[in-house]
Symmetry: C2
Subunit: 406 residues, 2 copies
């Protein structure tokens, strides 16, 4: 946690991954992020994985460091409260993150009537408003037809919801940029960010679109790195590692560490090529190269290789399950990004703050998600200026609820 | 292209995906982004995919809308020029994006000596400075052991470099946040963002870490959606679609469209469960449910289903290659995010701008990447204030080069 966005007040009305990730990133840089949800929880409140007691580890992971207010969004009074929150007053307020539909009670038109300089980042599925999620967009841009091994024609979805995550970060970026523009020109803006546009633009940015227009869809190549040298290898003792050599230096170092310079040199002489100078040739001729590496790796354990890997800066990573990653000092255990904190589920486990380090500043510990409705009264009072009598009345009428669900 | 960051001047000294993506996102919101490269190109200048003429579609995709200056970074005079650019003057300058090492001639210490309020976003591999790329970090957090079909034990890497992309967007977000903080407090900051921290924090945010600490690594489940209902299905005629039903409404609509309410109701009665109210139960009992869906889908073509899919808002996506996505009006063809532009390779093809829409503002067309060194003289003159005589001397000595490589 760092305080770069200190003073900023953001209201979030969203669910699932992209919108909540946007709010999470803002909170981890010090913004006050207030998430509103339906009483009893939004559509993501019971999303798997769950604790044995049925609390969502997913929900409490994606909503860390946010405040929570619970509102009955099915009733006109509740919807009006949500609108007033989205358009919250204050020079550093009026910033709203949502995945609610373009039309409806949280439309930009309705909200900007309350606050004309409102900034709204709206995550969408398809750009035309039709529903889409990460997995349906991913299949539409061709990724599952490229994932997987060439001997198996079945498409392979990504487990990791990459488009959701990218959209969340992109929305946070666009939102902070829009705030800086508002400081300059006083203008409100709605920024609509569809998963489908994020996916289509990314495939174009990486060259996949232009490649396909040339008549060539990328074939499935298993775990090989496209256009350079990289693949998974199994070591003596059975451990599997991912190994990458893109630059000339990485390539030369790798040959030296594996002591296969002579064998590779013989292939170069035979083919009349220079692998160090042309990473693409390593890919073209991988059928000749890979067996040399497989043999070399099969003769060494990770313990044999580690000293030279570390000394020479070989680019590699282990294949390991998340439970092993949790013990890896470079990832979780001992990583100052993580703090052991008590979560609303009642479990204590490591939680990350901002995904990086600012050496010039002190890092604050990660903060847990709120219990649903934990800040209902505080938000109504501090953000909307309601009196304790007005707040009590909203509770009595069931328009809002506190952490006990009432 | 939108102008939210108009006036901001960013210098980029980076290569591959994460750093260049950060610069690209800033440029697409109107910042002036100046990328410096070695004369002849950096380590990513020939990265695949290539045009038939050998130009990199990848490079020209990731460096759109940036200016280019070519400098001999192997010589002290060249390194000094790069340092002065990174620490460029001006109230909206002094913003640097890089993946150069923490130590070395582009260290924050060296650059902040030239400009104490410098903001630097530095993308790293491992947090300790050791080399890592997307694929080696991905294997280390367990994703390839979860990707793929349960009947095949081989790990499956993601083709999509999700960690690179997320890191790029996250760096752009953090950088804009640091600029807003500098406006407030005048302080410079280095923001170090390792791929490894982005990956580890994300796995924690999504609940994978907490789940594994409970003793359970996520098993491989093929193309099933974890914890709810979703999978790929083959339709009559052979087309494959991804289908997702998470909310109760999505679930009920889907049963209705497929006319399998009675069959599913019979399973519910037999098991004593309510699938609409508990998305997790749809996952638990998918072995019972999936055959009903497979049969229903095998009896209908996409043409049969489309009218009701569209009318009822079913959440689905086709499996299609990138070449088909290029023709899909919701993705590329006709999408106003794309403009047909001439690229430095000499090819004309659609290029995306900002991945979203701001209805209150006019959208500018996408802009192509520069030719390497295209803006060398302009940048030396406008940013560093060098005279034409000084610039000519740098060319003569081979310290800088223009678009012809000299």
């Amino acid at each position: 946690m760092y305080d770069l966005l200190k003073g900023l007040r953001v209201v979030e009305g969203s669910a699932f991954v992209a919108g909540p990730t946007c709010g999470l990133y803002l909170a981890q840089l010090g913004a006050e992020v207030i998430r509103f949800d339906n009483i009893g929880g939004g559509p993501d409140f019971r999303r798997w994985p769950l604790t044995p007691g049925g609390d969502s580890l997913y929900w409490e992971g994606l909503n860390k460091a946010k405040k929570s207010i619970a509102i009955d969004l099915g009733r006109p009074e509740g919807r009006e409260l949500a609108q007033r929150l989205a358009a919250a007053p204050g020079e550093q307020g009026g910033v709203f993150v949502t995945n609610f539909p373009v039309e409806g009670f949280l439309s930009y038109e309705k909200l900007s009537a309350l606050r004309p300089d409102l900034i709204c980042a709206r995550v969408m599925g398809w750009a035309d408003g039709r529903p889409a999620v990460d997995y349906t967009v991913n299949s539409a841009v061709g990724v599952p037809l490229m994932n997987g091994h060439p001997d198996d024609p079945r498409p392979v979805n990504n487990v990791l919801p990459a488009w959701d995550l990218l959209t969340g970060a992109y929305a946070a970026f666009a939102l902070v940029a829009a705030i800086s523009a508002r400081q300059r020109d006083g203008q409100g803006r709605e920024i609509r960010i569809p998963l489908s546009d994020v996916a289509a633009s990314t495939m174009a940015n990486l060259g996949y679109l232009a490649e396909s227009l040339g008549g060539q869809d990328r074939p499935r190549i298993g775990n090989d790195l496209f256009g350079a040298f990289g693949r998974d290898f199994v070591l003596k003792g059975g451990r599997r590692i991912m190994l990458v050599a893109i630059t000339a230096r990485q390539w030369r170092t790798l040959l030296q560490v594996l002591e296969i310079e002579a064998e590779v040199g013989a292939v170069e002489a035979e083919l009349g090529v220079d692998f160090a100078g042309h990473e693409g040739l390593r890919f073209d001729h991988r059928a000749r190269l890979l067996p040399l590496f497989e043999t070399a790796f099969a003769a060494k354990t990770l313990e044999d290789l580690l000293p030279s890997f570390e000394r020479e800066g070989v680019c590699w990573g282990p294949y390991q399950h998340m439970s092993a990653a949790a013990e890896d000092p470079r990832l979780v255990k001992g990583n100052p990004m993580f703090s052991d904190i008590l979560h609303p589920s009642g479990a204590t486990y490591p939680a990350p703050g901002f995904a990086g380090t600012i050496p010039q500043q002190a890092r604050g510990p990660a903060r847990p998600a709120a219990r649903l409705g934990q800040h209902t009264d505080e938000v109504l009072s501090e953000v909307l200026g309601l009196s304790s009598g007005e707040i009590a009345q909203l509770h009595d009428k069931g328009v809002v609820a506190g952490p006990g669900g009432r």
